[in-house]
């Protein structure tokens, strides 16, 4: 196709290159270009946050960014949370606290939670609710999502203090 450009983006620690049209949205590149379908398309209108990914650690809506804009940068998707077969603390939190029902909003919620805990390892309920305030859960399971993020924060803290002891 005419007007294609080559991009190279580090996705979950691995460099991925491909030819894209500039109008290709980041979420389509992840899902259709790389087959990483963990990133969901919810509203497609910048409203729901299901497509949230981390761009150099910062949460962004991948339906409202062109793939070319991420050229040369690093992305984390939900597939990148688990490391060496071990669940990320946020994933464990969602499992332990029943943080998901249908699971559609879960990838975005987990990435937001992971980013929040980087800045604030011990968030209050209010901090968590504020951080996820732009992401919709249509099962309305917010209570357990908040608990899951707090569980993960405590787990990270206890692992850190354990490592120091």
């Amino acid at each position: 196709m005419a007007n294609e450009t080559t991009i190279s983006i580090t996705v979950n620690g691995r460099e991925r290159s491909s030819e894209v049209e500039p109008r290709m949205l980041l979420v389509h590149w992840l899902r259709e270009g790389l087959g990483l379908t963990g990133t969901h398309i919810g509203c497609d209108t910048t409203s729901c946050g299901a497509c949230t990914v981390l761009l150099d650690g910062t949460p962004v809506k991948s339906c409202t960014m062109f793939a070319v804009q991420a050229d040369g940068r690093a992305l984390t998707t939900v597939e990148g949370l688990q490391q060496n077969g071990k669940l990320h603390a946020i994933q464990e939190g969602f499992k332990e606290e029943h943080g998901l029902q249908c699971g559609f909003c879960t990838p975005g919620m987990m990435l937001l939670g992971a980013a929040l805990l980087e800045d604030n390892p011990n968030p209050s309920e209010k901090d968590v609710r504020w951080a996820i305030s732009g992401n919709l859960c249509r099962c309305t399971g917010y209570q357990n999502i908040v608990k899951a993020v707090q569980y993960a924060g405590q787990k990270i803290e206890s692992e850190r203090s354990g490592a120091q002891a």
Binding site: P22, R23, T45, T46, P59, T64, M65, F66, L112
Partner: protein
């Protein structure tokens, strides 16, 4: 949803970006945060032939005071405003507005300057900047000019920015040693546009208001500067009668439309309530 096909440029210097606009201006759009432009392109309300992405230009993300006034570079995100100690300590109207704009994830990309250039009548930043008397610095390949925010907004989603220009900075005058500011916003839920927003900035001299800035969001074809209300406050002491009068004048300046967010009468009443609330807060803060 797919935007229409376009040609993409990601210049690394402002000069290169300006040269691209000199060549393609009429058919080009500048991409900063993209949180308004990309949704418009997806809906095909906008279908530019060329996109000039300015995100790879170094040095446009400054947020600093120089000679007493504040400069906000074109790549300062709303989340930067939300987290800035300078904004929290000196610019309370901005500090109040930032966390109320859209949602946390959109704020990570959306820019202040971009919001002004988008000129959505429901945009919050333009009201804050109108109240504070800010100017936009517009550069083209041939020069630079400053435009007051009131002169920038030409109607809904329409500005007086020339096709060959890039808005590089917002310039906010010194708020004064004693000032008060706030932004009050009624929204149905996080992430929704304002049903009504009110920005208030007061420069104070003891008991008296030296200069007042009041601007309204989402109650007209553009952000509205409530000039009569501002004039009623200039030189006055913030007693109940003055506050009532200014609030009524601001409500009269509003020109709301009935829509899914409420009736015109309701929105006008909210303007009156918000202005009363903000000025009462200023009076209390001063007395403390």
């Amino acid at each position: 949803m797919f935007p229409r096909s376009f040609e993409y440029f990601a210049p690394t210097s402002i000069e290169d970006a300006l040269a691209l606009l000199a060549e393609h201006g009429e058919d080009a759009k500048v991409l900063a945060g993209g949180q308004s432009l990309i949704p418009l392109m997806k809906l095909r309300f906008a279908a530019p032939d060329y996109i000039v992405d300015i995100n790879r230009i170094q040095g446009l993300d400054y947020l600093e005071e120089q000679d007493g006034s504040l400069r906000i570079g074109a790549l300062v995100r709303t989340s930067d405003m939300e987290r800035s100690e300078l904004i929290a300590s000196r610019y309370p109207a901005m500090a109040a507005a930032a966390p109320l704009i859209s949602d946390p994830v959109v704020r990570n990309l959306g820019t202040v300057v971009g919001s002004l250039c988008h000129a959505d009548p429901q945009g919050d930043w333009a009201s804050v900047m109108l109240a504070m008397g800010a100017e936009l610095v517009c550069r083209s390949a041939t020069g630079e000019r400053r435009v007051a925010i009131g002169d920038l907004i030409d109607g809904p989603f329409t500005t007086t920015l020339e096709p060959n220009e890039i808005a590089t900075e917002v310039h906010v005058p010194d708020p004064g040693a004693h000032s008060f500011g706030t932004y009050l916003k009624l929204e149905r839920k996080v992430g929704d546009f304002a049903s009504v927003g009110v920005a208030v900035h007061l420069a104070l001299d003891g008991d008296r208001v030296e200069r007042a800035g009041i601007a309204l969001t989402a109650v007209g074809a553009g952000n509205i500067k409530a000039k009569e209300a501002e004039d009623a406050l200039a030189g006055a002491v913030l007693d109940d009668a003055t506050i009532d009068r200014a609030a009524s004048l601001a409500a009269e300046a509003a020109d709301p439309k009935t829509d899914l967010r409420g009736s015109a009468d309701y929105k006008r009443e909210i303007v009156r309530v918000f202005v009363t609330r903000a000025l009462s807060q200023a009076a209390t803060a001063k007395a403390a």
